[in-house]
Symmetry: C2
Subunit: 700 residues, 2 copies
């Protein structure tokens, strides 16, 4: 709590490197605070001036009498350490190092930066930056920043916090938010994040009374668990988090050996983490601001059902198309509700969209009754009203405005959205009452859909998830197929009763014991794709066929891969019918063990129809992971086939995810391909497990 207060609403701030020139970096924060009415103490620190911009200046921060909540360090990098030591000596609570020339500038800067963190940590003092852009708290008129984005545009106070690492990205988003008329609670750009990072701030702002919605841009998260915890905390407080992830990275070559590795790009993992921790991922700054606008002014709708009232059939259909594309439901009001509405306005047509036509002009006040009847009847979480162009003529629009405000007053629990171009005064009056105003119909619908999705994501995020449990260390070295399956069996994943043999006779003997047809597969840690070297024979029945198959396989593999070490041949029963799926584990350097699920073959390879989720999984999350793929429809019985055992698949996902979480510091990846899901139960038919190099086996 004290970091929150000292960072965003300090009662006193020292500017170390203060300048008399209000255009310079050391002069701007002072100018902004004076011009925009900061009520705390502004303490310029400058050894060569007695007065700075009309304020008494101090040679050193230690010379200040009284407490210093926050210091801004704007001196050159080389002088920052001294300045920081001064802050320690003075007992400053939070320091913002706005100077650049540190970690972002190369090795020397990195050493300087590490020294700053050590000094601050030893003193129990918190620090943002270095290379930070600073903080703005419009409500407190606090401007601890030199950002030129504030030039001539004092931000409106409001409920949206904006947290970014990059100052440039933050400034871009900040200015777009201001121009959109969005009220801001806190704006901060954390720079190099040597101490305070975006994750910690999200967690802090979840407790900030002034902040209702958090917008965050994540660039390079270093601590996945901290980000997860912060997002979950915000979700638990019902504070929407709208997040952007900038900068996708290439996957390492090592990981690319399996589907799981090549598909689990950094981006897909972030995507999964955001969703499961209840945050909405925006794909553009405009979208982030739209969704923040909707959530901060109107709130998240209570359900996915939307009603549409329109004065134009064409725009109504446009909105309905956009709504169903965005996954919103458009249930019609009941016949009796429609009857009641026709009593008020005989000319209404349609149902949802309900077209009140331009004839609404004969009784504009009826919007209240129409809207209320609709939401009372059909329990819409949001109601969108398209009102053409009247809001550009405020006198003409006055009755409509009052009618909309009355509707908002009657049903404040429903997200109420007007769609129209509006004169600024009209717009602001509606917004003040919590009514949204969008000009573009499709954008209005998409923003409502995002707000509804946020509510769903927050609900899902509130479900309990199992914690990773400790376990005994895995054996070192590489695993061949048999070894991988033994490990899976240990993790609770069903495998076939199969055996590695070294002679044709042993192969025939095991086949006889199994009964029925068998499959033979080459066992070699150096051959990942067995089929391609002729290392697989299917459906062999009887001793003679098995013996012959054994010899054929060895011969083909020796020809195709003469250098490969061969550890034997696997004899297994034929698996029978079922749906082939791929289940993978990818151990991400930041987020730890992550599960992948997809249907086999072209689903994964051509359509990239896979989904990711963090390990360990609860059964509900495992189900959600499965259903996030389109191909999962095949599990339910496709074209007359019998449905397969989804519950068994859920069990396997949960068990494997627990195993993966336990061994995340040893594993690099697991891929079961295929995991055959049968009418009853499922079974791993092939698996590849890759371990980290021992040198990399740090705790995740």
């Amino acid at each position: 709590m004290s970091l929150l207060r000292h960072l965003f609403s300090p009662r006193s701030v020292a500017i170390i490197g203060a300048s008399s020139d209000p255009r310079k970096i050391g002069g701007r924060p002072i100018r902004f605070m004076k011009a925009y009415g900061y009520a705390g103490r502004i303490l310029p620190i400058n050894a060569n001036a007695a007065e700075i911009q009309g304020l008494p200046a101090y040679a050193r921060v230690e010379d200040v009498v009284g407490e210093v909540d926050q210091a801004l360090i704007v001196v050159p990098a080389a002088a920052a350490e001294d300045a920081l030591r001064g802050c320690v000596a003075k007992g400053v609570k939070v320091v913002q190092v706005l100077s650049s020339g540190f970690g972002e500038a190369g090795d020397e800067g990195r050493i300087l930066q590490d020294r700053l963190v050590r000094i601050a940590r030893e003193a129990g003092m918190r620090m943002t930056g270095p290379n930070a852009l600073g903080v703005v708290s419009p409500g407190e008129r606090y401007f601890g920043t030199f950002s030129t984005a504030l030039e001539g545009m004092c931000p409106e106070p409001g409920g949206v916090a904006m947290v970014t690492q990059s100052g440039a990205f933050g400034s871009c988003a900040y200015v777009m938010a201001m121009r959109r008329g969005l009220g801001l609670s806190r704006v901060i750009a954390t720079g190099n994040e040597a101490d305070v990072d975006v994750s910690e701030l999200i967690g802090l702002l979840a407790d900030d009374a002034q902040t209702r919605v958090i917008c965050a841009a994540v660039e390079a998260c270093k601590d996945g668990e901290r980000l997860r915890a912060a997002l979950r905390k915000a979700a638990a407080r019902n504070k929407p988090v709208i997040v952007m992830k900038v900068g996708t990275t290439e996957v390492g070559a090592a990981a690319a050996a399996t589907h799981t590795g090549s598909l689990a790009g950094n981006d897909a993992v972030y995507d999964a983490v955001f969703r499961e921790c209840g945050a909405y991922r925006a794909r553009s700054i405009e979208e982030m601001i739209d969704v923040a606008y909707a959530c901060s002014l109107g709130g998240m709708p209570g359900n996915d059902r939307v009603g549409i009232v329109t004065v134009s059939g064409g725009i109504g259909i446009l909105m309905a198309d956009a709504a169903s594309e965005a996954g919103l439901a458009l249930p019609a009001p009941s016949a009796s509700a429609l009857h009641a509405m026709r009593e008020v306005l005989p000319f209404v047509t349609g149902a949802n969209p309900l077209d009140v036509t331009a004839q609404i002009a004969v009784n504009r006040a009826a919007i209240t009754a129409i809207g209320q009847t609709m939401v009372d009847d059909a329990d819409y979480g949001a109601l969108l009203i398209y009102l053409a162009n009247n809001a550009l003529a405020p006198p003409v629009f006055e009755t409509t405005k009052q009618a909309v405000l009355a509707l908002r007053h009657a049903r404040p629990d429903v997200l109420l959205v007007t769609v129209m171009p509006a004169e600024d005064g009209v717009r602001m009056a509606l917004e003040e009452a919590g009514v949204l105003v969008f000009e573009d119909p499709s954008r209005a619908v998409r923003s409502v859909a995002a707000a509804a999705e946020l509510r769903r994501l927050q609900q899902d995020a509130s479900e309990a998830v199992p914690a990773a449990r400790p376990g005994a260390a895995l054996p070192a070295g590489e695993f061949d197929e048999a070894g991988a399956k033994a490990l899976l069996a240990q993790a609770g994943v069903p495998v076939l009763d199969e055996r590695v043999v070294h002679t044709a006779e042993d192969a025939a003997a095991h086949a006889e014991r199994l009964g029925g047809a068998v499959v033979l597969k080459i066992v070699s840690p150096e051959i990942l794709h067995k089929t391609e070297v002729g290392g697989v024979a299917l459906g062999l029945q009887g001793g003679q066929a098995v013996r012959q198959g054994f010899e054929t396989i060895l011969q083909r593999v020796r020809t195709a891969a003469p250098q490969a070490r061969i550890d034997g041949v696997l004899v297994a029963p034929m698996a029978g019918p079922g749906v082939e799926t791929i289940v993978g584990v990818h151990v991400d350097p930041v987020f730890g063990a992550v599960m992948m699920f997809g249907l086999g073959g072209i689903f994964v390879e051509l359509f990239r129809d896979v989904a990711f989720a963090s390990a360990p999984l609860s059964p509900a999350r495992a189900r959600r992971l499965i259903r996030a793929t389109r191909g999962s429809a095949l599990l339910d019985g496709w074209r007359g086939a019998a449905p397969v055992d989804v519950q068994a698949l859920v069990d396997v996902l949960c068990r494997l995810s627990a195993f993966a979480a336990t061994h995340a510091h040893e594993l690099a990846s697991i891929e079961i391909n295929p995991l055959l899901v049968r009418e009853s139960g499922c079974v791993a038919l092939d698996a590849v497990i890759t371990m980290r190099n021992p040198s990399e086996r740090a705790p995740v």
Copy 2:
């Protein structure tokens, strides 16, 4: 040409039903024209006034001395016929019937409307509406409309025409365009389209010197060929057409019996027609306006390659992500170009995006050299420059603005886009020089991508397509599988050497003649899905197996479908390996024969991975149709399989499309499922052909 002139720039206009009250429908057009400076003759027609809004009024249009180019009819529906006859008597060139109460109001209105069209057509007079909203030509200050959207906001003249059917939709788009600062050439809402329709107007505006870009909203096209011709004409003139389709309709139950029918929703067909005729389909009004803005000010980029220059790494990456998602290429400049740029600005990093960092402030004029080096080196069709927030402070931005203008001057062939919030004066100065200004980085990129796509679509649309040829009538009645295949063979589609037999002996005899394994299939016009009734047996080898298979099939079918008429059993050779595809024909009531292509099975059923194109196809279009599906990757040899004969598939698509176009007035649909594409050649394994009812066999 004369309709274009008389409709959009009449030298004289009569308002029949003119009102002295400038707020009334009959008064508004006169007020607008007077207020905004129309230079032609305004002729109020009103039997009860000698003067209207300060202008001499006439009792009847026939009383006017001199030519009347255009008349607006705003009298009630019942009086419209008399008014129209007056226009005929006077020799008015074009009449806009703005009154409502016609086709949109029920049967009586429809009769009135039909009478108006007859009168106009007999007189050779053209007519818009009824129930139209009128015309605006900002360049000529002509305002033949009563739209309240003009209240207090005189539109800027410019190069964008906006053509809609619905007045409400048009007003919404018009006001959004005005607020976006988009200059307009013509705005028209055609209403009920009893005579002039959106298609005709697109064709006219393709020849309009004032119009550089056409925005159109299509609701219910009645004449597909006219729309196609108009779009192709605009594409041939290199006039971008950005179109919205509002109102998707449900597919008829009859058509839903096949995949082709159920997937060929009205919407998918419109989509195909727009694309192949060179038009870009926008999904929101905002998008339509963005793309029109880009094309009208900057033009269509010459290729899909974009360069990005940025002052912020984060925004650069955001734009690069958006660009690759939108299908744009981001090639890097050469090492020597990078070297040259570092000579100018030593601190630039990256390549594309090229990050000039905030240090560009030391030499803002360098943007010209940097930009020119990039486009000269890497042949970018478009260059996007992110410039942070300086354009909000015009004096600070002046040098940058001049540098950007110099770059535009040096390379006017490259689409130059600045990305930044900008003060209005700055924005307008840039726009006047043809430099685009976007605030949101992602939206800037998407708009450039759309403009680039328009160029590609226009190029593709310019390719010659074969014309439909006449042919002999098809046999009447229903087709069983054998009949359908016989018809396909006639169309030039390869089928297997198969025969319908009625006894087990004949089955065995034909199997022997074929040699190798055969397949047996039940033949019944009443069974569409043979497998589901056990009506198929595969891989039968030898006389005994074939005889037994024959009996088994009959027995199973008689059990599963005891009522079905059975016409025999088909004996065919096994088709061998290949890729299963679905090829369909859907005869659309508006657009005629349309081809569908997709890969078999789950590709179509689960992923809806299908594409449509109008018949007949050229080989180039057939190839494009195939490649529009993701599944087409399987044709090239998936996971080590041999590639199959795509050329044979192209041939089949072309031949079937020619057949479909010839018989569009007889056919309802054709579906070949599967068409097996083999390493050499392809073959139809099963087909369903449905014919129209004879009563519906009107020419398409």
